[in-house]
């Protein structure tokens, strides 16, 4: 990092969106400095943990099967956001995904057919060979080959903004603060999901028991600086994408492998050994994202997914071994639950079952009768030892709060005027498109689209 140099484009952040912006700006002829707050080993923000891109396509292409048109993509987005989306920006994103794969391949990304267990996504999502970290590595190689300067372990602590224009950034690097001047800045530094104090502000003390699925480096500092400088905010400030993950996962960075996919096969009880929601409401891929909030609402933010021997081996094996027992009582003791309460819950559940033919691949007719809450599919008795349990906690994937942007990725101020030289891309502005909810591969779609736009527009601002 050469802080005496006046760069054309300063990129804040080191994930997918930041790299897309840096590469595009550099290719347009700009001098580019990228500041990544993480050390090299943990570079890439939450893009490290991603694995696919939701792609619009009108015919089978590369690894994508069938067709997934703009309208269907848009409808899918509307369903999950409940209208909290900017249609113009959303459609821009959708259309960009139809063409950006060539750019990605050119810069070293490789695609592979849908992963085992995710075949249902082969029509809508293009999977990265090796996942998001492989993609990030490819982009860093491309950026370095092109001559983008990259500085790791470099944390932005302040931005100097004058009359709505970016002037300089202050960054902490190896213990000292440096002021970096640049003609334009691209804010692509992610959300605030790793900032425990900020999470507590949003969720109260329950946030103490949340696990952070992604990088510990998303502290939301750049987001906070922009909001404090009167940037217009967007997205629900009090929500995040939250799934139920194994309670034994590390506090940060557990990623994909901490998932527990057996909820729909058994029952889930809370710390009082009581069930609290319909485990069989829908297929797990359509339901896992609500279970984070459900567990967050339980006492001490903990729950236990319980299955019996019949279901073992019928789901992707979780990374941590299950708690195993030969009876409900024994299981309760192992989980430190009230044995009588758990026995009552299981007995009540087992005796409420209506006969049906179990089929995990369809919404089958195995349901409970007169039970509150009901289990509406895949309800089978918990009666065949050994019994297994996986403890669950809310795991936060990302936050929705961001800065509003226009179609040139320029940050909007509260009076709706765009900044001429401050651009935003990635999670920090994802709320423009995804104000709430989630569909797989949309984060990378937004990051890639707005990364490209931000890089190109920043270069245009510099070069004209």
């Amino acid at each position: 990092m050469d802080s005496s140099h006046n760069y054309d484009v300063l990129v804040l952040g080191g994930g997918n969106a930041a790299l897309c912006a840096a590469i595009n700006a550099r290719r347009a002829g700009c001098s580019v400095l990228l500041l990544e707050s993480a050390p090299k080993y943990f570079r890439g923000g939450n893009s490290r943990h991603t694995r696919n891109l939701r792609c619009m396509h009108d015919a089978p292409a590369d690894v994508l099967t069938g067709a997934y048109g703009e309208e269907e993509y848009w409808q899918d987005l509307c369903k999950v956001t409940g209208g909290q989306t900017n249609e113009e920006l959303a459609r821009m994103t959708i259309r960009h995904t139809a063409t950006c794969r060539g750019w990605m391949i050119e810069h070293g990304v490789r695609f592979q057919p849908s992963l085992g267990g995710a075949l249902h996504m082969s029509r809508t999502n293009a999977f990265f060979l090796g996942g998001g970290k492989a993609l990030i590595n490819a982009y860093y190689r491309a950026a370095e080959d092109l001559g983008v300067d990259v500085s790791y372990d470099t944390e932005v602590t302040d931005l100097k903004i004058k009359d709505g224009r970016f002037v300089s950034a202050t960054a902490a690097f190896q213990g000292d603060h440096r002021e970096i001047h640049a003609s334009t800045v691209v804010a692509a530094a992610g959300g605030f999901e790793a900032n425990l104090a900020w999470l507590t502000e949003a969720w109260g003390p329950a946030a103490d028991n949340f696990l952070i699925r992604g990088t510990p480096y998303n502290m939301g500092r750049v987001l906070r600086i922009l909001l404090d400088n009167e940037a217009k905010s967007i997205g629900d400030p009090l929500q995040g994408h939250c799934v139920a993950i194994d309670a034994r996962a590390p506090k940060f960075d557990g990623g994909i492998c901490t998932r527990v996919d057996c909820v729909s096969l058994g029952i889930v009880v809370n710390a009082q050994a009581r069930r609290f929601y319909d485990e069989g409401e829908d297929f797990w891929p359509k339901r896992y994202a609500i279970w984070g909030r459900l567990v967050a609402e339980q006492p001490n933010q903990i729950a236990y997914a319980i299955i019996d021997a019949k279901s073992m081996g019928k789901f992707i094996p979780p990374v941590f071994p299950p708690v195993k027992a030969n009876s409900v009582r024994e299981l309760a003791l192992a989980l430190q639950l009230d044995a009588h309460a758990l026995e009552a819950t299981v007995t009540q559940f087992n005796s409420a079952l209506r006969a049906g033919s179990f089929d995990h691949t369809v919404l089958d007719d195995c349901t409970t009768d007169g039970l509150q809450p009901a289990k509406t599919h895949w309800a089978r008795a918990i009666d065949t030892p050994p019994l297994f349990a996986y403890p669950l906690r809310p795991g936060i994937t990302f936050t929705y709060l961001g800065v509003a942007v226009n179609d040139r990725a320029q940050v909007l101020w509260r009076d709706d005027h765009p900044s001429p030289n401050i651009f935003a891309a990635g999670e920090i502005m994802a709320g423009n498109v995804l104000g709430r909810g989630y569909i797989a591969g949309i984060g990378m779609a937004i990051g890639t689209t707005f990364g490209h736009i931000a890089g190109t527009e920043a270069a245009r601002h510099v070069i004209g």
């Binding site: 490290r48 070293g108 592979q112 992963l115 060979l129 996942g131 994909i256 901490t258 789901f315 094996p317």
Partner: protein, 378 residues
């Protein structure tokens, strides 16, 4: 089997821990055969780990793509644990078991064997044909080799040692096949067998999913794959040269040394050049290998083999060039000595990777014809 020769329990436990993380993540399944094979399993027996470890071609792609690689607290270095388990399986399944100890300090063992081989042949020839004959020039080269060592003795000695080496490899791979839990007849299923040959000839799984394997950092390259195949095809050409020469000798009555443009010499020369170029490239790459990928004990074994192969080749090519000079005798002794060292250490050195890996590839293609475990959508 003594426990000293099995894979260390700690190593297996670590392998199981890492494989369980991979099985829950699955991001790497496009890189090679290991991850699809791993995903067929819910838990991992010792045999499963031996199978996966030998199916792993050590391309390194998964290490650089891994979000759980060190310094992540999961400390997942999959290629490294695969290498450690693989090395241990070489010891575990070696036959006769007593000779498994040759895998300890294998680089040194192979080096000493090469020196001992050369010295033995030099001394042997000096004793049996006399110093005078050994050091004289042979302008009319016809039959000169056999003046120093009668053909029958040469053929029978090398034939016998080679046959023993092959027998040791066959028994070892049969033990491996049983150890990973397969029935003997499955090995020769025609479809999987020919798919495995195909995978091996192309070195399909050193492609890292397409762009090549990793060596020094996260940048993929085909260099290691290309150098490896130059070595393999060089080795096969040299072997073919020997086979053709044997046919010439016994069937056609044409005796070595052969003319420069004869088939055995052409095959041997091209092969010999391959055995110089290939290992040189591999050694260059090996020296630049990311330490994160190198799994400890194998380093000596790799170097031993990477030096022995070009030594065999250099002495052979020098013999060809110098066969009409006074140094012919010494060159013949050096060449025969290093070839003998190669034959003896075939089942007790790096060469075994070819045998176990091929068996693992056959197993992979056998398994692919079996139904997958039923899992719900994730």
């Amino acid at each position: 089997m003594s426990s000293a020769r099995s894979v260390a329990p700690a190593c297996l436990e670590e392998g199981r821990r890492m494989a369980s993380i991979c099985n829950a993540c699955r991001y790497c399944e496009g890189y090679c055969a290991v991850f699809p094979a791993l995903e067929r399993r819910l838990s991992f027996t010792d045999g499963d780990l031996a199978y996966l470890a030998n199916l792993c071609h050590d391309c390194g792609a998964c290490y650089y793509a891994c979000q759980y690689a060190p310094p992540h607290e999961f400390q997942l270095d999959f290629p490294k644990i695969m290498t450690q388990i693989r090395d241990a399986t070489y010891r575990q399944y070696a036959w006769p078991g007593l000779l498994a100890m040759l895998f300890e300090h294998n680089g040194l063992v192979v080096g000493l064997m090469a020196v001992a081989g050369a010295v033995d042949f030099l001394l042997g020839m000096a004793v049996f044909v006399g110093r005078q004959a050994l050091l004289s020039a042979h302008p009319d080269s016809t039959g000169a080799f056999y003046a120093l060592m009668p053909h029958a003795i040469m053929a029978w000695t090398f034939g016998a040692v080679f046959a023993l080496a092959v027998a040791a490899l066959v028994v070892a791979s049969a033990r491996f096949w049983r150890g990973i839990g397969e029935e003997p007849e499955a090995f020769l299923s025609p479809g999987p067998f020919s798919r495995a040959i195909d995978s091996a000839l192309q070195l399909e799984y050193l492609r890292g999913g397409g762009d090549g394997c990793n060596n020094r950092d996260d940048r993929p390259s085909q260099a290691r794959r290309v150098c490896h195949q130059i070595t393999v095809y060089g080795f096969l050409l040299c072997f073919a040269a020997t086979c053709v020469a044997t046919v010439y000798h016994y069937a056609l009555g044409r005796h070595a040394p052969y003319a420069f443009w004869s088939l055995p010499v052409l095959l041997g020369s091209v092969g010999g050049i391959g055995l110089l170029v290939g290992p040189a490239g591999l050694a260059w790459l090996r020296a630049r290998r990311d330490p994160a990928l190198a799994g400890g004990k194998q380093i000596g074994m790799d170097w031993g083999f990477l030096l022995l192969l070009p030594l065999v080749s250099v002495t052979g090519l020098l013999l060809l060039v110098l066969r009409e000079t006074a140094t012919m005798g010494a060159m013949l002794a050096l060449h025969l000595g290093t070839v003998m060292a190669l034959f003896i250490t075939l089942p007790y050195g790096k060469f075994v990777h070819a045998v176990y890996r091929f068996a693992a590839l056959v197993r992979y293609h056998v398994e692919r014809r079996r139904p997958l475990p039923e899992l719900g959508p994730e």
